[in-house]
């Protein structure tokens, strides 16, 4: 009797299992309908080759909630990201416009750029670091992201810009950078002290007309596109496409850009060589400084 009961319960359990599996697709949730613009894509990061077919599974598992089944940034959570409160809307992959690139403005990023963005995440946003995924999984994801825009099928990624060796970060370089900060009117958005509160800050919008905040250097956080001096240099020269932050590649020379990098480092509450040199100089020369900003602007710039 006992054996019969067990056999029957097992059988009925298995039958229930099969019924459920068979019926599951009818409920419309198992196979989320992901729409892509291209056929299968690949990515190449070092010696790792990503395949979009595999990346689709990771996208569905981890990304779809924000970036949406169409990759247009309209996932179920996008509604709740309020740019006014500083939470940027999810990236719209169908536009193939990316902030963090090593390539000139207006061009497609390299696979490595996308890979690093996925790995690094975007600080102060809901985009987390995905370094918990294996390199292969991230490469697969990059390949899949590319299927959302036909641009990837018709255009090549831009050529990464050259980053010349960094000159010494001395006080002369910092002071020149400060002049550049004034001259190039960086303060209009980032504010005289780099707090992200310049006179234009409240009017800024991204390419989708969502409000966007300039970076606040005094937060001391990582930059969205990295955290090193080289990363900051690259941001000047490539710009952050889709945002009001332009590329300065045609406006300033490499040495000027490095000077700016060194000055901006002094605005961060971090223990950097630039900050140390700046503090030492200020103790004896602070009163010589003209404030940053418009002529009539009071104070600022330390």
């Amino acid at each position: 009797m006992r054996t019969r009961v067990e056999a029957l319960t097992l059988f009925l359990g298995a039958a229930g299992m099969l019924l459920t599996v068979g019926a599951a697709p009818c409920f419309g949730q198992i196979d989320i309908n992901i729409h892509t613009a291209t056929g299968p894509m690949e990515s190449h990061i070092g010696d790792v080759t990503g395949q979009s077919e595999r990346g689709k599974a990771y996208y569905r598992r981890s990304c779809i909630g924000c970036h949406g089944p169409n990759g247009d940034g309209n996932g179920e959570n996008a509604l709740w990201f309020d740019p006014v409160l500083g939470f940027a809307k999810p990236r719209d992959f169908t536009l193939a416009t990316f902030k963090c690139r090593s390539t000139p403005t207006g061009t497609l990023p390299t696979d490595k750029d996308l890979f690093e963005a996925v790995t690094r995440g975007f600080v102060t946003t809901n985009m987390p670091q995905w370094r918990a995924l294996t390199e292969q999984e991230r490469a697969d994801l990059v390949a899949f992201i590319k299927t959302f825009s036909a641009k990837w099928a018709t255009q090549k990624a831009g050529t990464p810009i050259n980053i010349p060796p960094e000159p010494t970060a001395n006080i002369e370089s910092i002071l020149r950078g400060r002049e550049n900060f004034q001259k190039m009117q960086c303060w209009k958005c980032h504010g005289p002290e780099g707090h992200g509160d310049g006179p234009s800050a409240s009017t800024l919008t991204d390419s989708k007309d969502n409000p966007i905040r300039p970076y606040n250097f005094s937060s001391g956080s990582r930059f969205k596109c990295g955290e090193t001096n080289q990363d900051l240099y690259r941001i000047f020269m490539t710009g952050l496409d889709g945002t009001p932050m332009p590329s300065f590649a045609d406006v300033i020379q490499p040495n000027d850009a490095w000077d700016l990098v060194h000055f901006l480092r002094t605005l961060q509450p971090l223990d950097t060589p630039e900050a140390k040199a700046w503090k030492e100089w200020l103790t004896t020369h602070g009163k010589e400084l003209k404030p940053i900003g418009a002529e009539e602007a009071p104070g600022g710039g330390q």
């Binding site: 319960t9 009925l12 359990g13 039958a15 229930g16 985009m127 292969q136």
Partner: protein, 492 residues
């Protein structure tokens, strides 16, 4: 929370074969028919937190292979103190209306069938095992609709790098206890290698019983995590949450992890008692050690391997007052340990997962024979030891459908008494089932859970607590205990 399996009140109904079959069929059909409209239906064994999904806007599947089991991203998030490390983790960044509370429970239908149970030959006339009137062995079967226990969980960050967890958990009759309650100081010295946790928490087992995919009375626990041999006075289970302090660390991607915990010998009980009514004490401290390393395996996924050890003492008698043991005044402490290896291995583009574990257990001879350390040992006494292990398999057909299976065995290598049959306390356990998540987004979770689990234990009470909670009449008597479980596991 469903603690240790599903300690659900069973419907005491001796079932005939026909009734059992009818019950199963009706329940299966009813639940299947209800599935499309199940959005308002609800679960509960362990830990999955839609509150985090709501906070960060990530779907369940971002952190879980299939909730509640964590994937590596979820592991990193947990290791970071429930932080994404995006400089927006502190509650000051949250909408004030956000409140991190999760509820989990599982309305279900289940059948429990246990063989070789000593029952009265005449109902109402108490039998005496080994005496007169004699007991008879019968199969005991129960089935019906039921509730699981409930988790009422809140966890998150108090500030950047200060996290907490508070989990009042109840049985099916709403009797609550604190399953966990701790504060954790994360990234001490700006290093992920130093995190300090104080309170009651789960041991850092590579294979977590608190976040696994089985719910039935027989399958809803790892036998290895709670096993002690027949006659042993130790009540330790490596699957039980403990009270103490833990230092843990991990690499940025949690590929390398370690933890060292110093724990009160109270088996997670509050008030200095250890839950043992005879020797309700515990003045010593235990140590738990865990280490694991993960390797990326290309398109297969990742492979994590680890080692663990737990070393402790338990009292064998207590100081007494008027003959009653004084809580917290344990004497005659004797050692025990558990040590082993485990792994979490992925294949086929992370669709196929294997969770193997091997553990060796040892209890001091006084613990093993239940003898006070100030009394002579019985003749033929030995320190009991055993080997146990399991292999669990998950196949993720999609993020919303997972098939599960497990085989587990425990084999005594040294009986506490020479007179014990050599196979007494041995266990074999089998489980198979699936979980289907008809909805999966970042607000809540629902799983239809179907599982069949069966155990064979020799001469002892099944760990499922099924049956009459007495050992079989013969010391080498086999007890088969089976569970069929169908339920809706909801997490809000």
């Amino acid at each position: 929370m469903f603690e240790q399996g599903l300690k659900i009140g069973k419907l005491a109904q001796p079932g005939s074969l026909r009734r059992a079959i009818t019950g199963i069929a009706v329940a299966a059909c009813a639940l299947l028919a209800a599935a499309p409209t199940a959005h308002a239906l609800p679960n509960g064994k362990v830990l999955a937190i839609p509150a985090f999904a709501r906070k960060y806007g990530l779907p369940c599947s971002a952190c879980h292979t299939a909730w509640p089991e964590l994937n590596n991203f979820g592991q990193v998030f947990r290791d970071n103190g429930y932080q994404l490390m995006n400089d927006r983790d502190s509650p000051i960044w949250q909408n004030p209306s956000y409140f991190p509370i999760t509820l989990r429970m599982t309305p279900n239908w289940h059948l429990e069938n246990t063989t070789n149970q000593p029952v009265d030959a005449t109902p109402g006339v108490s039998c005496v095992p080994g005496g007169t009137p004699a007991c008879v062995s019968k199969t005991v079967q129960m089935n019906g609709f039921d509730l699981s226990g409930m988790d009422f969980w809140t966890a998150g960050t108090l500030f950047k790098n200060v996290s907490f967890s508070l989990l009042p958990s109840s049985n099916a009759t709403a009797t609550f206890h604190f399953e966990n309650a701790y504060v954790r100081f994360d990234n001490l010295g700006h290093s992920s290698w130093f995190n300090l946790k104080v309170g009651k928490f789960e041991l850092d087992n590579l294979i977590s019983e608190k976040r696994f995919l089985f719910l039935s009375a027989n399958g809803g626990l790892y036998q290895s995590y709670h096993f002690v041999p027949a006659g042993d006075s130790n009540n330790f289970g490596i699957g039980d949450n403990q009270l103490g302090v833990e230092l843990a660390g991990h690499s940025a991607n949690s590929y390398t992890r370690y933890s060292i915990a110093v724990l009160s010998a109270t088996e997670g009980n509050v008030g200095f008692g250890n839950g043992n009514t005879v020797v309700n004490a515990g003045r010593t401290y235990d140590v738990a050690l865990n280490f694991s390393q993960t390797f990326a395996a290309g398109s297969q996924g990742y492979e994590r391997i680890g080692a663990f050890a737990y070393i402790g003492y338990r009292p064998t008698y207590a100081m007494t007052a008027l003959g009653a043991p004084i809580t917290g005044e344990g004497l005659g402490n004797k050692p025990f340990y558990r040590a082993g290896f485990s792994a979490d291995l992925f294949f086929l583009n992370s669709k196929l997962e294997f969770l193997p574990l091997y553990m060796h257990g040892y209890d001091n001879v006084y613990l093993g024979t239940g003898t006070q350390a100030n009394m002579p040992l019985p003749v033929g006494a030995h320190a009991p030891s055993w080997n146990s292990g399991f292999i669990e398999t998950h196949y993720y057909y999609t993020p919303q459908l997972v098939f599960i299976g497990r085989y587990e065995l425990i084999r005594m290598s040294q009986q506490a008494l020479s007179s014990n049959p050599s196979n007494q306390s041995n266990i074999d356990a089998y489980s198979i089932g699936y979980r289907w998540y008809p909805i999966m987004f970042s607000r809540a979770g629902l799983a239809f859970h179907n599982e069949y689990s069966i155990t064979k234990s020799i001469g002892i009470i099944p760990l499922s607590a099924d049956g009459v909670f007495l050992p079989p009449l013969a010391a080498n008597g086999k007890v088969w205990s089976g569970s069929l479980f169908i339920g809706f596991d909801f997490d809000f």
